[in-house]
């Protein structure tokens, strides 16, 4: 469908990831210099110039597995480590948050405002680092250049592409359940009140015209729903009031413990299907991933004395429990790259993997610290 979907998917998921990590870093009282390094390193990696060049090229979306792999790597672009249960939970929270924003955005074009809300928050995270700010500003420019000329219909196609990507994901998130924007079956609540989208009239009026085009009659009808007039349009400039709140940070200080999440509803009539189709795309995916990894500017490996682990659960026990009890249909099956085989089939991937190998010792067994990229890829 739309070949312009990936930048919005990546930036908004990345933005949600940063909100959650920022909240966890504060909740776990990580020293501020370390926390700032983590945020800066991840944002620097996200908006790496070469990486953005790849990202903004017209292309189909990656598979869920490939995208998950990209975010695994991004989350580990600094000195912070997440184990699998925390990474799963982080990814669930990110994806459900963005699914909610895509579903609820009033007009398809408002997805760009959602993206700017994420970008504005990211810009604020790195306000003291001029060089990273430059990268962020460059990304604004690319977003404006690519997306502001698009028609409503083209934005709707992007939105439909994203909704297919998020289809059948009904993970229940406690912050949404508490706010009553998600039902216990995992479906989001769609309000039938509030302001109509910009450019839409409140339902309820029928106007008829004569064959010469003059208005001859106006009749009101009673419409379900209780809508009010549209708000003003948000700003599509680099700076400005976006008006809509979707995509802003919902993990404020007061909601510091609100990341508890439950699995899918047991009585749900359908289960999230893991991509079970035979995979003629495996090679294509590897190629795409190779391109992306080529753009990712990876950190030098860090010593165990500086790295630290962040937990998305209240306690380590809870985290362990989550890993054991995770329903099979929710496993992400992160792409398993086997170095030896692929080195023969894909020179580019081999080159990139070669670069990674130079940074750490390739190992057949995954490192528990997860600080060796190649090992991490194999282990997932």
């Amino acid at each position: 469908m739309s070949s312009k979907t990936l930048p919005l998917l990546f930036i908004n998921l990345g933005g949600e990831m940063l909100y959650i990590l920022d909240q966890r870093l504060r909740a776990q009282n990580i020293p501020s210099d370390k926390a700032r390094k983590v945020m800066n390193d991840i944002i620097t990696t996200m908006f790496n110039k070469k990486f953005l060049e790849e990202l903004f090229k017209p292309q189909e979306l990656y598979s869920k597995r490939a995208l998950r792999t990209v975010f695994d790597r991004l989350a580990h672009a600094s000195i912070m480590r997440l184990n699998q249960a925390s990474m799963d939970k982080l990814y669930d929270l990110m994806t459900m948050a963005f699914k909610y924003q895509v579903l609820l955005c009033p007009r398809p074009k408002d997805m760009l405002l959602v993206t700017f809300n994420h970008m504005d928050a990211i810009r604020d995270f790195v306000r003291d680092s001029p060089s990273i700010l430059n990268q962020v500003d460059e990304t604004y420019r690319q977003l404006i250049e690519m997306y502001t000329p698009l028609s409503g219909g083209e934005f709707q196609l992007i939105r439909q592409t994203l909704l297919i990507f998020f289809q059948d994901m009904h993970i229940r998130v406690s912050i949404f359940l508490k706010d009553k924007v998600q039902n216990s079956n995992g479906r989001f609540v769609l309000p039938t009140s509030g302001p109509v989208p910009y450019g839409t009239q409140i339902p309820g009026l029928i106007r008829t015209f004569s064959c010469t085009g003059e208005e001859v009659n106006r009749v009101q009808f009673r419409s379900a729903g209780n809508y009010t007039a549209a708000l003003r349009e948000g700003s599509f400039e680099m700076h400005g009031d976006r008006v809509i709140k979707l995509g802003t940070n919902m993990y404020g200080v007061s909601r510091a413990v609100e990341t508890h999440m439950s699995g899918t509803s047991r009585n749900s009539s359908q289960h999230t299907k893991v991509n079970t189709a035979p995979n003629p795309l495996a090679k294509k995916e590897l190629n795409l991933l190779a391109q992306l990894m080529g753009g990712l500017d990876m950190q030098k490996p860090v010593g165990s004395d500086t790295s630290f682990r962040v937990n998305l659960f209240a306690t380590d026990e809870e985290e362990e429990e989550a890993l054991m009890s995770r329903p099979a249909e929710l496993s992400y099956e992160v792409i398993n790259i086997q170095a030896a085989k692929d080195q023969q089939t894909n020179a580019e991937l081999a080159r990139i993997m070669g670069e990674f190998a130079d940074e750490g010792e390739p190992s057949a067994t995954p490192s528990s610290k997860g600080d060796e990229l190649l090992a991490m890829m194999d282990g997932l």
Binding site: L157, V196, L281, E348
Partner: protein, 347 residues
């Protein structure tokens, strides 16, 4: 006016695509067929009228000889011609036509697409135009034509023989400047109507056509920069649903607006007309399905529209809605992420 009946379960949930429900009544066998698109799969259900028997089938978007691919389907619709009924699928790669029960693919038309960049090192920006490539908008016209829209704005006209697979691309209509969203043929069955096809695009522009050996453009109704996502043609009158939630009623040949309805609070996804009664069905992302009564009296030059009924499908962005019969006694609805077809019947 309508009450909810037992839903029909489908094998996988509906994707958010315009007009994502097609209904075909097989009266001699007392069956109704439904199709709903899920990503790269079409869910087909045949339901007996007594509500006791359901049989399911899933069609994959096989692309000619290419092995199973990830190509997404944009629309599935039954096309009823006097001599035969075909199920037409449009996707990112092309157009597939099946026998109406989905058993045999009788025709495959590949879209003329640039190679998707999959190889590392290919200069993508020069090899790959920014515009998405897909087919969307399906209509059977008169005795022997099936028309299909393309994302470039072209309309492909296929000549369909009364049997067999010797289907030919007979004409390409190049009038629209933006992606085709939907199209519809005259459904009143009246032979007096001059216009027999209306086509719509992303900019809201509508083209009205007279079919024949060469299709003739009768009128082009300019858009107003709001996408027209669903369109119907009945008794020489066009009903068009827009991204702004409005419905507009036009005289097809003159293009004069006869009615403008602020119908929905969000993007309209589907319109349908019951040709024998003039009931008009509209459905949108605002979770509402509405039934209207359209009265067209050509002799008196009168066009009227009246609101009859609203139904809220709670927490569902509706993507497909169709009447199940020519009178509009029953209609069926699907929504994004929903694995069922919800049916409503008149009391």
């Amino acid at each position: 006016m309508y009450h909810k009946e037992k839903s029909i379960q489908i094998k996988s949930s509906a994707s958010a695509l315009y007009n994502n429900l097609s209904v075909l009544r097989i009266a001699p066998r007392c069956l109704t067929y439904f199709t709903v698109v899920h990503a790269n799969v079409v869910n087909m259900v045949s339901a007996s009228w007594d509500g006791l028997n359901f049989s399911h089938r899933q069609l994959q978007s096989k692309e000619g000889s290419i092995a199973a691919s990830s190509s997404l389907i944009m629309q599935a619709s039954w096309c009823v011609l006097p001599s035969r009924e075909l199920l037409v699928l449009t996707s990112q790669k092309g157009i597939q036509m099946y026998e109406s029960d989905g058993s045999i693919m009788v025709y495959w038309h590949a879209l003329d697409t640039p190679e998707t960049p999959t190889v590392v090192g290919v200069n993508i920006s020069s090899a790959h135009p920014a515009q998405a490539v897909f087919a969307r908008g399906i209509a059977a016209v008169q005795e022997n034509f099936i028309c299909v829209g393309v994302s470039t704005g072209f309309i492909l006209v296929f000549d369909i023989p009364s049997k067999g697979s010797n289907i030919m691309l007979s004409e390409v209509l190049e009038e629209h400047r933006e992606s085709i969203t939907d199209m519809a043929s005259e459904c009143s069955g009246s032979l007096e109507s001059v216009a027999d096809l209306v086509t719509a695009d992303d900019s809201g522009a509508l083209c009205v056509w007279k079919s024949g050996e060469d299709f003739q453009l009768l009128n082009k109704i300019p858009g107003f920069e709001v996408c027209c996502s669903s369109v119907k043609l009945w008794k020489g009158t066009v009903a068009a649903g827009y991204g702004s939630g409005q419905i507009r009623i036009y005289e097809a040949v003159t293009g004069i607006v006869r009615a403008e309805v602020n119908a929905h609070a969000r993007w309209i996804y589907s319109l349908d007309i019951a040709p024998f009664s003039g009931l008009l069905l509209s459905a949108a992302e605002d979770s509402l399905v509405q039934v209207w009564h359209l009265t067209v009296i050509p002799e008196a030059n009168s066009v009227e529209i009246q609101h009859l009924y609203s139904e809220c499908v709670t927490d569902t962005q509706i993507c497909g809605a169709k009447f199940c019969d020519g009178e509009g006694h029953a209609f069926a609805v699907t929504g994004y992420d929903l694995s069922e077809i919800i049916r409503y019947t008149q009391e």
